[in-house]
Structures are given as C-alpha cells and as structure tokens.
Symmetry: C2
Subunit: 348 residues, 2 copies
Amino acid sequence: MMIDRRFPVRLDLQQGTVDMSHGSGGRAMAQLIAELFQRHLHNDLLAQGNDQALFTPPPGRLVMSTDGHVISPLFFPGGDIGCLSVHGTINDVAMAGARPLYLAAGFILEEGFALRDLARIVASMADAANEAGVPVVTGDTKVVERGKGDGVFITTTGIGVVPDGILISGDRARPGDVILVSGHIGDHGVAILSQRENLGFGTAIQSDTAALHDLVAAMISAVPDIHCLRDPTRGGLATTLNELAHQSGVGMQIRESAIPVRPEVAAACELLGLDPLYVANEGKLIAICPAAQAETLLAVMRAHPKGVASAIIGEVVEDALHFVQMETDFGGSRIVDWLAGEQLPRIC
Amino acid sequence: MMIDRRFPVRLDLQQGTVDMSHGSGGRAMAQLIAELFQRHLHNDLLAQGNDQALFTPPPGRLVMSTDGHVISPLFFPGGDIGCLSVHGTINDVAMAGARPLYLAAGFILEEGFALRDLARIVASMADAANEAGVPVVTGDTKVVERGKGDGVFITTTGIGVVPDGILISGDRARPGDVILVSGHIGDHGVAILSQRENLGFGTAIQSDTAALHDLVAAMISAVPDIHCLRDPTRGGLATTLNELAHQSGVGMQIRESAIPVRPEVAAACELLGLDPLYVANEGKLIAICPAAQAETLLAVMRAHPKGVASAIIGEVVEDALHFVQMETDFGGSRIVDWLAGEQLPRIC
C-alpha cells in the first residue's frame, strides 16, 4: 500500500477499536476510509473520492430503494450483516424487475467496536457486491458513543434500471393470477434464532441470504408480464401476501401443503412456538403472474440455482376484505392474517 | 383520514412510544408508515407503496450520495435531525453541481422513543423536502431495543442530475484558482454545543442548516467552469480544504482576516477552546474556480439569500506536500492541518 503522509501509523486492524474520532470528519476518519473501506470496496466510482458518486445510467426508468440493517447477532450461520446489507437492497431493487446498478452504504458504528469485526463485515459486503456485480459507489460513516448503538448498523440504498415493457408492482395482482414462491421459507429467521442468546439449539440451518436479481432477470425474460414480485423478509410469507392483497385490493387462497418448508425448519419452529409463515427470508421471492404463464415461470425458476425448490402455492381471488386464506394440511381453512406484534425482533 | 380495517385503533401520537413491533414488518409497522410517515411525507412516488420507488430521471449523468445522521441533541436552535437529514444529503448531491431529484430515508428507532417527537421530526423532514422541491420517495424503518440506539438515527440517500457541461470534483483545484466560502462559518457546531449537557451557555446562535442546491444552480449558471464545491460539515473549513488539497495534489493559501466568522461564534469558540476553522457547518459551501471568474462568482453568491456573506478567502498554490497555510490576523503564517481527534462528536 502507498505510504500516505497523513497516516504515519497504520490502523491496527487486529487489536484496534472504533473510537469517536473515526466519525469526526478529520484525519482518523480519512484513515478508516482509506485503510478499511476503500481497501475492500475499491472501484472506480468510489475512487472518485467525492461526497457523491457520478455515473451515467442507461436511459429509461430507474428504481431506488433503501434498507437499514440492524440484525443481531452480526455474524450468523450463512452470512453476516455485511453481505445481508448488500443482498437485501439488491433484492428490493430487483423486485421491480430492475437490474441493480449501484449501492450506497451508510455505517453507524458504536464506539469500542472491534476494527477486526468491522473489516470482516466490510470484506463480506465487498464479496457480495462483487459476486452480484453491483458495486458500492459511495458511503458514509458515523460513530456513536458506547451504549448508544450496537456494534454496527448499515443502511444500504440501491438504484437499478427497469427494462422497457416491464411493469411489476404490488398493486397488479388480479383474481385468477397464480402465486409462486422461489423455495423453502423460514431459513433465515431460524438461522438467526439459533444464534440468539439463550435460544441456542443444535441446528445446521443456514440463512438463505442471497441476491436474487439474476433469478429475476431470468424470470422476466421468460415471462415479461409478471404482475408482482416481493421478497418476504420481516413478517415472512404471510405478511407479504397480506401486503400484496391489500395493495391490489384482492384476496388470496394458498395451500399449506404446497408451501416448501424444510423439515428441520418446521421442527425448530414447532419447538419455539413459531409459525414458519411469519418467519423472515432473505433469499426468497414471491411472484404473481397470469395463470397462463404460471407453469412456464415455475420451470424457469426451478431451472435457476436460486429457485430449485420453487412452487406454486396458490391463487389470487376476489375478496372485498382482502383476506389471505389457507387450506390447511388437514383440509380445513384458516385466515392467515398480518403479523401482529413482534415475532422476531432485529431479524434483518 | 380513510378508515383502514387493518388498524381499528389509531396510533397514539401524543402519548405513544416506539415499540419493537414497529420494526417487525407486520401490522404495527404498516400502521406507523400509514399514520405517521406517509401522512407527512406523502407524494405520488411514496404512494406507490412498493419496497422501491419507480421514476424516469432526465437523461444524462446522475450522482448518488448517502449520509447517516446521528446528531445529539435531536432538536437544536435552528433545526432538528429531520430537516438536517434532508439538507445534508441535498447538499452532498448539489456539491457535484447536480440538481437533486429524490431522497430515500432509512430510520433506526430506539424502543421507547416518543411518537410525538418522531412525528415532529418527520414533519420537519417533510417541510424541508417540500421547501427544497426534493421529495422523500422511499424509506425503511427498523427498531432496536432500548439502550441499543439513541432515539432516532436517519440515513438519507439522494440522487440528482448533473447538467451537461458541468464537471465539479474535488480533484480539479489548480494553482492560481481562487477559494470562496458562502458565508459565516461555525454556526452549526456552536449552536449544537450550546444545547449539549453541561455546556449550556446563553447564545442566540442558530444552526445554519439549509439546502444549498438553489445557490449552486445560480453559481453554475453564471460560472459553469467552477472546479470544486464542497460543504464544510464535520471537521469544518480546515478539514474540507485539506481534503480538496490532498485530492487535487495542490496547496492552499488562505487569509484569516477574510474568513467570515460571527463575533458571537468567535466568542463562544474562545470560551470553549475551539477553533472555528474546525467547527461544522450545515448550510455553507466552499467553491474553487479560475481566478478570472472569481469576482463574477462572488457577486452571484452575494446576490443569493443563502450567500449574502460570501467571501474570497484565498488561493490554490503549488505545493508537493499539499499543505493548507493561513496568513493570520497578526501577519504570521501557520499550517492549518486536518482535524485530529474528535472536536465535536455527533455534530450531524
């Protein structure tokens, strides 16, 4: 690394910790940016070194989305807050059918946080961004006193470009449309719970955290008339279906037997008194499309590595009250309502 | 307001507080968004109700910038974290010469935070966004447990469009260029300090928090060849000049007598042992332009309501070591270095 006269002594990334000066705007912050953030996240736009990144997007419609990440613990089976913060925002952009272009990242660090952990998190963000082909082009760092934060919070914002002819929105579900999910639900929430204090139980369940924009690209290429896409994160499948039903002014009818849940996730949920329908996912999506295209869409999803366990789980129906109803494994029917209260705080 | 079957009981915006369920992704969060965020920040894009906002920007180059806001206290003379979070990001976008288009806002709330205060902050954001003509089009809300946050943190991200022919960047300062500042420095930092615990002193100094994009638009209209613009926030004028000197590979020579500082700010700084050169501003900018255009630029800045106290404060010089040097009021010269350590934590 080039010697920089501003920083005669290198950051101690093994034993060092975040202190208030790292948020001061001065020399210590410049060093943290140079020796930690830029070292991992380097790209031409970030290297512009201004308080904003400059680029020329392709012409057409853009989308913008932002997501704060406050997950606890910061490291969990299958990922960490770093890759999660990249995947989460890429997915929110992709759920408009958009191709994600760029990310911005805002860090709120707690005084005393280990620089080693921060470096690990930023390296994980960089890996996730590289793998997805969506660079972090601008950022910001703030520091709060010990006891006023919790290690690190990361707010990522993404923009993406929507291909011509694509119009995917939560208000486009129509009676007769078919509802699909891209794989097993509940993995992320159960993986996090397995790590929480006093809730440790032996499980090999990993978070499904993943960027879904490539799956979405394959889907819209085959079925441009997809009506809705949404990732069932906080609140899980049940809450996301209720959001879409409300937004489109329709009802939904789903079949419990059709919803993919891993046996070990089902078992963990039973043990913990949770309903997998409400448990968060970070690498799954719900798609709603016209019935005539549903089998084509399902085949495309199953052919993609991130959608191998995709399934058709139900249909959109007319319902002035916008209920989501489920035919249960026992042949009965129940209303699947919005998540009420807090099932799993700080799950993302 | 329309009755919504999801929320039979309205949020208590007088006595209510944030609880963990407001970050759950479920019904309580939907209610917080509907009855507090959307009520204040309503616009067509936010009303799309998706996890991302869709729009068609004008063709050309865009900029993107993000800024976390962790200021303490949340309310201060001249503003609050709400308007600050709008102004700060608008300014970061505008410092590329860009016209800001849209904002995204990510909230990290602490359990127990008064909904009344949150509503006041969001109303202030809305007022600032309306006044600036830059809507908040998408957002996110997370909640952390009591003692893991500090009331509210707000990360705002903005995008803007750069007019054709404009190329403003921190690496464009050239020897011979002239350095201008748009008004009195240090107001924001001193206003915040006046409110901090145990540092209360009688002062009428208000934060200068303001959106500067309209000032910038007037400046680039008159002088399209402005080389650098940057807002001297954390670290103050001194640190920002050092950043620009480092980035452009030049030195700078400034004159203490030319730098506008209000007498009451100077007095407060003296009392507190602070140097106004390092105190944060939230409504000022530094401009660097060719000498031939400096007087024109100064006149345009002074003619604008947000630049009436603008001044030429020095020149860019050749210096392989990239020092910022200042001719003092007493005729001597001193090096004005980067801010070292933390002068004023959580100033923005």
